[in-house]
Symmetry: D3
Subunit: 293 residues, 6 copies
């Protein structure tokens, strides 16, 4: 169960309205790596987790915080929109380039659809969607997804920090940056503990018997481009990071197979073949049946 | 530039057609973590990269291989569909539960739309979309995204391995599993080298001056759920993995702020306020202007 | 069957072109609550309706009108785009802030994709989609959806009215506002008649035997937030609007249940469990089968 | 802020796994009218609301409950999937039509992507999306949207009730049905109080001066189909429900206007006109400029 | 304006219900090449057209017919769903493989969401979307899009014809097939007339001065794969179909250029560069400004 | 297999950065008719093709070239973004209308999400999606789709040519225009050869026995609008282009059928009927069963 408290985790009030910035801030609310994504991702990982204890408590503990971050951003955006211009554009614009920029740069749905309110969309107005999140049940993989999400999120907030000089907005972003720092550390630590606890190891999924894979290509670097420098990386020679192989470098593939011949599906699918009169020519039950139809 | 060779990197021919399995295999062709996703992700990372050398050669080198994996899967799927039933369902089904399963379990668009061909969709028929990929220009974050993609991909292939006993399909999957092993190792190694090369460090983005963030909450574990075990993790006490802080544990938030008062945008947006006659009451230019209109 | 007449229901010609406004007007053509949505919604409700007579004639009668409103808006948008600037932006912009605003504020796909034509998208360029519409077969619910659609639509048109001073555009919007007034009244009246005709009542669906639901919580207001004022509403005490219960007020839930233990699905799905060697340990047929594979 | 408690509002445990039913239940978790939709809708309405007090406390109070319903459904779905078949389909199917049905009827992404976990999608696997929700800032319209959402939701749950005989599932659905009963009553009551409090009236938005609309068509029923029975409804004669007009009935439109002539946009957009050599023929600056390019 | 008549263009009644087939038939109602697509495509082409006369009358004349085909399909689908099973699946399935197939193969949203009604989706439940249609203002291109749409549509209907033996369904499909025959002929004829009327020619857009393009590669066949047979086609030698060039065959590209060096955007975007301390090192206004922030 | 070469097919370097133009150029990279679409479309047509030889070599040969065009555009876009403004908008804008235009007109996700990099989206930020492509297995239809794609693509590039005066950008566009000229010719030629080779003819699919369609309407022009000029076209009289019929002209439909009566699905779907007490009234097994539940 979730309980709501009419307080924010941190102050979310701008010095003054700024409709263009409100649009930009939507990215970290409703974008691919916005707060809705991490809130939902951690919640689903909790509901789908197969073991009790510290990892499950962790995703539940952080997930609820992230819903509060959605709230901080939505609250901030509504205030940034408080003076969004609605009037006749042409007049005002001729006098003032700033208005021209606002007219061009704000999310017009903020006014037309939401009446100066926040929306569950990104900075280009694409609606948030469930396909942004990851919850596979495999914790090593999912925590890596979480670490990535917190990294991408912190990068976006850092970029947004430089796109305003509003001290109220920057204050809130400074708080979110700090929490992203925590969450990056936390997921990377959780990955280490998963391995230390013997729950997963590399390559993931570690329970799949590696001998069933074609191990001769499991540690080969295959260069399908003509750049020469990839051979200088630790992925092209030396021991692999999973401790189970030794990397080798190869220009192009080490294996190949002929393409199988083109397929010949049922003639009644009307694909083009070099048997263009196939339907007429096919003997037997299929054809008889077809004729009777 | 890309050049195509009419050979496959590995044999991709099933023992026999299986339309239901063809649908399942679409997941690793056109799903969130399918081969189109990694091929496109690595290609865009290459085009957007800000430094030459081994990392850029790496993403180009692997990206082209992944387009070849899309091809292997598409080729396999077309063959799995070669005998997909098209005829009248009711008759056949009454005789044979297997046909019933096929009728229910295949992707009907494989027949109706593609004429027994592969499609750029996932196993539920959702079209592949550009929002699946990640290319931020920050390599530590992006390589973490890549590591996650290869982990999720290997998990899905491992699951699919058990959903068939067709030795031809399994042979191909065993190859893909091995390449996913390589690619997991490779991205994790590349992350280590980025740090060793002094190009990025934690927290990412490392160039953003951490002193600008609210550092008092940068290493606090804040428990917004009531599970007790999250305090047992290395994220709740001890040194942080970025080497820059010491974790502490807190039940709930350590900060709070009142919610700001509700916003009062332009009355002509017709939101509901406790000033329901706001339009009539507002004095001055806005109102005069409105009346003139 | 539908028949088209090359006339409009009302004049749809602007005084002068305005490419920015053309973009905004797309919202009520192809947005969530635009005219395509209501036209399609009423048409599908007609095709899916389970009873003949006045309600079915009503949705057909109005649905066709709404397709004509799509036409009015498309015609208007094409004219608003007639002088959309196409030339080199940098030169013109330096001389004229208005051009700067147009460059920033118009929908660039209007020019690049449609050659100065209307498109089936909203004001942010999101394509119209079938998931906007509602047709459940239950008329009380569907007419409530219709009433909401006409309300949201009239609000959006009213907002758009203030975003232009073009008398041609305003003339058309004044017509659409009047029709939305009619349609709000109409659906709310139809809801009353449905109840008066004994076809549906509250709660919907009224044929589901209410005794099968957990009636002890059917009229409880449960406050999951800490605001104190919700108890002042008629939903927190007094008789319910369906005439079948008496509301009571409760701070938080009146029921609760422990979370069930984490699930343990098939080990071959490779989720993380505290039985990391689960595959090896599982006895019996599953494991034997797995080994044979 | 949101706080999570590791308890459910009501028991959510099935008698036995049922992978097909798990798929169906996704509709009320992640579909257009599922619990994510109402949770998000009420939350955004709260963040965007322009007045404090009972209505804002109401949407916050209910919104948090709905996030808990998402949790109940996700927990239930994970358990329904606990024994989802993963093995080789063809063998098992030949022996057992039930397995055939499961193979055909389950959501294959439940196994391949989520490892037997719940997902933020509907029963056809379409990801939940932000465009499902409504938050316009106008409470009369938004509460009508809410009433509709609770009606559609209760209808879907009632349908799902008959699609299983699992007493554990039915027990949970009986709880959700009761809460939907409450929420239908609550939003309809809130609409009445909005009007009684003088905050909004019909037609919405009531602050828009109705005299600006073309009032001559504000209460006309215009029949664009050939059904004869729509004239029997209260929308075709008698006083309107907003108390401001008298309905009249008309066969077809009462107004019409000629279609404006086709538009002639910039020749460099290369649309087809009857001036096919337009570029060559256009005189003056545009053409000169074009030639210089 | 559109007017609706409560008659169908052709009989659309099945011999008996068939819920699986209802799902399949959704493809030609709401799929990429379904009837909604062509109805909308022709309507938008009419509204956006830049010349009056026979071509504009043509798209309006056919567009309205296609809306009537949507109606025929929706009506048929609702009837096919009339006996869709709703009850408890497990019992029935054990007795009857046909029920197993229905359970697996029907669109579950047909029952849960639409109450046995048609929906604006394709056969996999993907909602119809505005991005399916084409209306560029250039008639040669758009009529080619139309010809393709009618071809793809006729192929899909032909495939669906073989997926049922219901004589009522086949009767309706036989009608739609005939109309698709007409419409294929019609668009190809219209393309010929466009050229004969001197309105467009190849390559489209024909008004763009071809001398501005790099004409040295305008008729070269460049083979980026290793197949040898493409040189046998009329595109590899001989006169081009636009009558303006002579084809030549080349193995691979005839031009090339070095990749430009990696970009170095603003350091405050925090991309990874080999100047990891870039922010500190950059001199001048940007840096000064940054420090002041 | 695909191999990458770190060279471009043609120079793709602008004279100077231009963030607004970068956004516009996204249309032909990731839009409906952008280069990703044609690259993917030709690749899937190759993988799904049912006959070897010149047509299959053709789609593979061109498909790989198109992936290289994606690369040229992505490279160009990254360079156009190299100086994209990131700083505080309000200050700069007041001094300079050009900055106002850039602020309003650029794709903000280019900065926030991609750090000044290209993205797999169109010019409004809609992600590329798999539903843009066509691969039916029927080559006459698919090559018509290809011809259309190259026409739409060339039109869009021609429009974009006039939206910049950057000679570097125009140089690259002049190359792409030439290749589109080639590809238009090529697909139209391939269509002619398909017919000459006896592989397909009109109407497509030509193998479907035309006598099964309702041939009486196969060549009728049915005018569902009131324009008079459609009768002047070659589609309204004279021989059909497939050589198999003679066109006739008709005002409106030549056939009609009554709408079937409304459907009466299972009462437990809770649709509204004029049998509102249907559940209680239905006798026999269904009802007994329901009561037992």
């Amino acid at each position: 169960m979730f309980f709501h408290k009419q307080e924010l985790q941190f102050k979310a009030t701008p010095d003054k309205p700024d409709a263009i910035y409100a649009r930009k801030l939507q990215e970290v609310l409703g974008g691919q790596y916005g707060e809705i994504s991490v809130a939902m991702q951690y919640a689903f990982q909790g509901w789908n987790m197969h073991l009790p204890g510290k990892y499950r408590d962790l995703v539940f503990g952080i997930g609820a915080e992230e819903f509060g971050h959605v709230e901080m951003l939505a609250t901030m955006i509504a205030q940034l929109l408080e003076d969004a211009p609605i009037g006749i554009t042409t007049d005002a614009v001729q006098d003032d380039p700033t208005v021209a920029a606002v007219v061009g740069g704000m999310d017009v749905q903020h006014a037309i659809v939401a009446g100066a309110g926040a929306r569950p969309v990104d900075s280009n107005g694409n609606p948030w969607q469930g396909s942004y999140i990851t919850s596979s049940g495999n914790l090593l993989a999912d925590f890596t997804a979480n670490a990535n999400a917190e990294m991408q999120g912190r990068i976006q907030v850092a970029r947004l920090y430089h796109m305003t000089d509003d001290s109220g907005v920057r204050d809130m972003l400074a708080f979110l940056l700090a929490r992203d720092t925590m969450h990056q550390n936390q997921w990377l630590r959780a990955i280490e503990e998963l391995k230390a606890d013997g729950l997963e190891e590399l390559p993931t999924p570690s329970n799949f018997p590696q001998k069933k894979e074609h191990t001769e290509v499991s540690y080969q670097y295959l260069n399908f481009s003509d750049g020469e420098h990839a051979k200088d990386g630790g992925w092209a020679s030396g021991p692999s990071i999973d401790g189970k192989g030794e990397h080798t470098y190869h220009d192009g593939p080490t294996t190949s197979a002929p393409m199988p011949p083109p397929t010949r599906p049922d003639a009644r699918l009307y694909g083009t073949t070099d048997l263009p009169n196939a339907v007429e020519k096919i003997a037997g039950t299929v054809q008889d049946k077809l004729h009777r139809e």
